[in-house]
């Protein structure tokens, strides 16, 4: 079997917290694949693999190097057809892309306002200056000013999470009777929060979301739960 090496960033205490990398970690487990994780910092990314990588997750499948969680999921579905399907076919994949974009453009922008300083405070020392500079440029304001929008973001969370809550009122997983990549997309956001902050994101989704999060943390011998929660 091809050796799979993933590159993932961690906090100062070695906790994997990237929401996008968690999607990939769960997708690999879904396919029954083990991987060897190289824990790095943001500032190590230019030095990995072919030196052309800008983000995690970056995954080396034998000679192939892939970055970006969606591309990795498509690659896994195509090259590991013998494992359980992540998408359940073309329409399942197409609909999952909507969920991917909902996470990216509706959920994550609220979450980052709330946990930004928690993330910053847990970074490896070598990453702090890079993180501050790059994010302040991206947000066009100081980290502290950006995070001041956290309370307003909390006010929108329940509304943004409602489609998820309602869906989980009638089916156990976003993927239906069994988890699909859609579950891992959204789990990434919840694990991002759980590993960096004591903010209780699931409470904004109510009981169905809390039950789903518990079940998702238990998948694959507690793969998600084994990563320490922030305290």
């Amino acid at each position: 079997m091809t050796t799979i090496t993933t590159y993932d960033i961690t906090t100062a205490d070695g906790t994997r917290f990237s929401p996008h990398a968690w999607r990939t970690t769960m997708a690999l487990a879904h396919k029954g694949l083990s991987h060897d994780c190289h824990k790095i910092g943001f500032t190590d990314i230019p030095g990995i693999c072919d030196g052309a990588r800008k983000i995690v997750p970056t995954v080396q499948f034998g000679d192939d190097v892939l970055s970006e969680s969606w591309a990795i999921a498509l690659h896994l579905e195509e090259t590991v057809p013998e494992g359980p399907s992540l998408f359940g076919g073309e329409k399942g994949k197409a609909h999952a892309l909507f969920l991917n974009n909902w996470a990216a453009f509706s959920l994550h922008p609220l979450v980052i306002r709330i946990i930004l300083l928690d993330i910053y405070n847990r970074l490896q020392d070598k990453d702090r200056e890079y993180f501050r500079t790059s994010r302040e440029k991206r947000f066009n304001m100081s980290l502290e000013d950006f995070a001041a929008g956290g309370e307003a973001a909390k006010g929108q969370l329940k509304s943004v999470l409602t489609p998820m809550t309602k869906t989980l009122e009638t089916q156990q997983w976003l993927g239906g009777r069994v988890p699909s990549y859609a579950d891992y997309i959204v789990f990434g956001a919840f694990q991002w929060v759980r590993t960096t902050s004591t903010f209780d994101l699931a409470s904004y989704g109510g009981e169905p979301v809390q039950a789903w999060l518990d079940a998702t943390l238990d998948l694959y011998d507690g793969l998600g739960r084994n990563e320490p929660a922030a305290s």
Copy 2:
């Protein structure tokens, strides 16, 4: 072949405008099924079929009577397997339920603030009092006070539509390379607006959404486009 009769509400000039009924109308066409539509008013609903119906779409498939667009779509997918699939399997269906809930709980609540008075002004005379009373009870305020929130709703539309816009930047349909029930879910909202109001909803989604709406209106010999736009 079983005769299919649908019950749908119309405006005073006979235009079918229900977003939920449009989902069903498109789903029937997707399956290659013709139907006979009984055009009614809100106040006629208690008198149709078995007298136990509260909403449109209500559809009579031979001896079976079904209401609620999602239940009808599931029934079609199960009982007409020979037509093109609406969902593409269990995961496609599960993921589409998220889109159904996104439309119901994220998109529609903004749209109704914007077009409520347009709808009211176009209703059949016999429906006006019922509509005002039932909606004022539901919203717990006058129609006019509710509609005063329209400008604020417009301010949130671009953000709520972004997952759709981003998805349609990389695939032609929400269903991927061909339309799926996900497209009809969302089309319902756009057709609701188009048939009752001159408000340009698609402009808030930008070019990819505008191109998708044009293409969706053209499906099945212009089934959607043949219904007159409000002027």
